[in-house]
């Protein structure tokens, strides 16, 4: 087990992994900057002379600007709702002892077992009945429901890990339960909120199936939904296709880079203590 002592070994492992991750990513970026027609014969050639037109083409094609905006609204709206609801439910389930706590917790966890695709037909009929079809709000509520179980699971873990003295001190100072939650505890579970935000945002931003089914108006389409059409249209133009892929991946990468410190801190602070 000498290996375990050697920092060079660990550096080596991480460097190899980084190459494995970054090489395909580089291929993606490089390909997005090449003219399409020579792609098939020389997939490797470096884009020495970057062909930015691919990006211009993606942006001008269809309504990428509006797709982008819709994706932001839907992902952002869902995140706000998920965070508010998960904070509340996580607080109650994590800090209060009451009859049925375990039962409610278990019930919420069953929500993690149901992929939305499994129930698409009844969900469609139900949304229609509620007047929430072809509506961004309808989609936001569906996403919220899908992400909430995991979010409550994570938040309740964080609330449970905070010392009880905090509550009692605040109560002695005359704080109501809501003030206790908002003023004292929320700042302490911020790292957990970062985890919930990232874990929820990834599948919501990247999903194209539910928008395809639930949104019909062209002006409400999301980015991934728009991309699927785009792929068919440009099936043989790799450069444009890859440029589209890069643009679609960008916002989440930025979100991750911005939140990553909080996120790592959050995981460290207690999510994994369950």
């Amino acid at each position: 087990m000498k290996l375990l002592r050697s920092k060079i070994f660990f550096q080596g492992v991480l460097i190899i992994n980084s190459i494995m991750v970054l090489l395909p990513v580089f291929f993606l970026l490089n390909s997005s900057l090449r003219e399409s027609n020579d792609f098939a014969s020389t997939p490797f050639a470096l884009a020495r002379d970057p062909y930015w037109e691919n990006y211009a083409r993606v942006w001008s094609e269809g309504s990428f600007g509006s797709y982008f905006f819709n994706s932001l609204i839907i992902t952002g709206g869902s995140l706000v709702l998920i965070l508010i609801l998960a904070l509340g439910a996580g607080f109650v389930l994590g800090r209060y002892q009451f009859k049925g706590n375990n039962l409610v917790f278990g019930f919420i966890l069953t929500g993690m077992l149901v992929p939305a695709k499994l129930a698409i037909l009844p969900l469609f009929i139900q949304l229609k009945w509620m007047g929430l079809l072809d509506s961004r709000l309808g989609l936001i509520l569906v996403y919220t429901s899908a992400a909430l179980p995991a979010a409550v699971f994570i938040m309740s873990g964080f609330f449970r890990s905070l010392p009880n003295d905090l509550d009692n001190a605040a109560r002695i100072d005359g704080a109501s339960e809501f003030v206790l939650l908002r003023r004292v505890l929320v700042p302490l579970v911020r790292p957990g909120m970062a985890i919930v935000a990232i874990y929820s945002a990834i599948p919501i931003w990247n999903d194209f199936f539910l928008p395809l089914v639930f949104l019909q108006s062209p002006e409400k389409k999301t980015l991934m939904q728009g991309l699927t059409v785009f792929f068919g249209q440009y099936a043989s133009q790799w450069g444009v296709l890859f440029a589209g892929l890069c643009l679609a991946a960008l916002p989440l990468v930025v979100l991750y880079l911005v939140l990553s410190e909080q996120f790592i801190k959050g995981l460290t602070a207690g999510a994994v203590k369950g």
Partner: protein
């Protein structure tokens, strides 16, 4: 936040959830029709045609929305079953739409409302009829024909002077092409449906074309028939002429090999021509019907009505939708469809200008035989296609024998198709 304010917020959220109406479509004098399709590649074509329609029909606008083809069935069936969906729907024919038309999702069409239907032959109309009630639910717009496409320049360079007439001659030609340093066929195994089309092209001469079709449909013969097994074996025999690593080559790459003049032949439908030309506008393409199995056999061209336009039974714009459907049935539209996408028109009054398409259509009218799986056996699950598509992928790598595959198809079809029940 105090409890009252929080409650207020939650209540407001739910109120908002139930009050905000979908789309909140503003009432206006103009009618907007929605039109769905799985043909993402034809988006530009349809949009330009819609402009022509709108210019002639002020007050009606049409919004064309293509969806990802692999998700199209899920999206359309979900929407229609829930009583929503677009005004006009592009559908795959036969079993592709029968499930939905039998459930009353489409408007039955009459020749009075859609005169273009009068001009179509009975065989073509059948593609867009209900499976149970045989009512007309769609306007078929294209016929497809299967054959062998070839690159005359490569054949020249390989020293092939005459087009093959028999199966043996064709395999000999493949060998010659190989010797000359080209790929014999671009066809590959990555895509199940493409292999099924390959079989529908070269297979009928082995099983006896239309008479076998009629016998199987009537329950007089089964899929385990010797001729049918031989037709499956023919597909397996082609494997060695496919590109190296053919099992993993996807549909677009396979077609790209022919389009980029690396492969001499491509076996499949006329609809591939548009794709070939979009990749390589200067390519020279010839076409001939699949060769006969032996000198005593007959040649066949597999054919079927390959798509139809239907109207949603629940449309609120029936008059406008019919107007648009009639536009899709006009000579001008049909002509554009033929000229720009190289489809074979359903209507006899559309002129084919493309010499290759003309040639295909000439053969089709004399040698045509129904695409067995599409025309006959896609109406209930397990369809014959759902067994054959993965089956062919196994067959070409030797993972299953033609006899076993034939037996599997028979068992699957016999499980729901009454005339075949209990037969093996």
């Amino acid at each position: 936040m105090n409890i009252k304010r929080f409650r207020g917020l939650v209540a407001a959220l739910f109120a908002a959830a139930t009050v905000v109406a979908p789309g909140a479509s503003v009432a206006s004098a103009d009618t907007e029709l929605t039109f769905w399709s799985w043909r993402t590649e034809d988006k530009a074509f349809y949009e330009s045609q819609i402009k022509l329609f709108e210019a002639k029909n002020p007050g009606i606008s049409v919004k064309f929305t293509p969806y990802l083809n692999t998700e199209y069935n899920a999206i359309v069936s979900t929407a229609l079953t829930a009583g929503k969906g677009p005004d006009i729907i592009q559908m795959r024919p036969y079993g592709g739409m029968a499930n939905l038309s039998d459930a009353g999702n489409f408007l039955p069409l009459t020749t009075a409302e859609v005169p273009a239907l009068k001009k179509l032959s009975a065989g073509i109309l059948a593609g867009a009829q209900g499976y149970k009630d045989k009512k007309q639910y769609g306007l078929p717009y294209a016929v497809s024909a299967l054959g062998v496409m070839y690159n005359p320049d490569i054949l020249d360079q390989s020293g092939i002077r005459a087009l093959p007439q028999t199966w043996a001659q064709m395999l000999k030609a493949f060998d010659k092409v190989k010797k000359a340093g080209f790929l014999p066929i671009g066809n590959a195994g990555g895509n199940g449906p493409a292999l099924e089309q390959l079989h529908a092209t070269v297979g009928p001469t082995f099983y006896g074309g239309t008479s076998f079709y009629n016998d199987v449909v009537a329950g007089k013969k089964t899929f385990t028939d010797k001729g049918y097994v031989a037709s499956l074996k023919a597909v397996a025999d082609l494997a060695k002429y496919m590109p190296a690593n053919y099992q993993g080559i996807d549909y677009n790459t396979a077609r790209g090999l022919f389009a980029n003049e690396k492969a001499a032949f491509y076996i499949g439908g006329n609809y591939e021509m548009g794709y070939f030309r979009s990749l390589n506008p200067s390519i020279n393409i010839g076409w001939f019907p699949a060769p006969k199995a032996n000198s005593g056999a007959k040649r066949y061209v597999g054919t079927w009505a390959d798509g139809a336009y239907a109207i949603n039974a629940k449309t609120t714009n029936k008059a406008a939708a019919l107007k648009f459907l009639n536009f899709l049935g006009t000579k001008e539209f049909g002509q554009a469809l033929v000229d720009e996408i190289a489809f074979i028109p359903t209507a006899p009054y559309v002129k084919i200008n493309d010499p290759a398409v003309k040639e295909i259509n000439r053969w089709r009218t004399t040698l045509g035989t129904p695409f067995l799986n599409v025309v006959g056996f896609r109406f209930e699950n397990p369809t014959s296609s759902s067994i054959l598509q993965p089956g062919f992928q196994k067959l070409i790598v030797g993972g299953i024998t033609p006899e076993q595959l034939a037996k599997d198809v028979q068992t699957a079809v016999a499980s729901w198709y009454a005339p075949q029940k209990g037969k093996s």
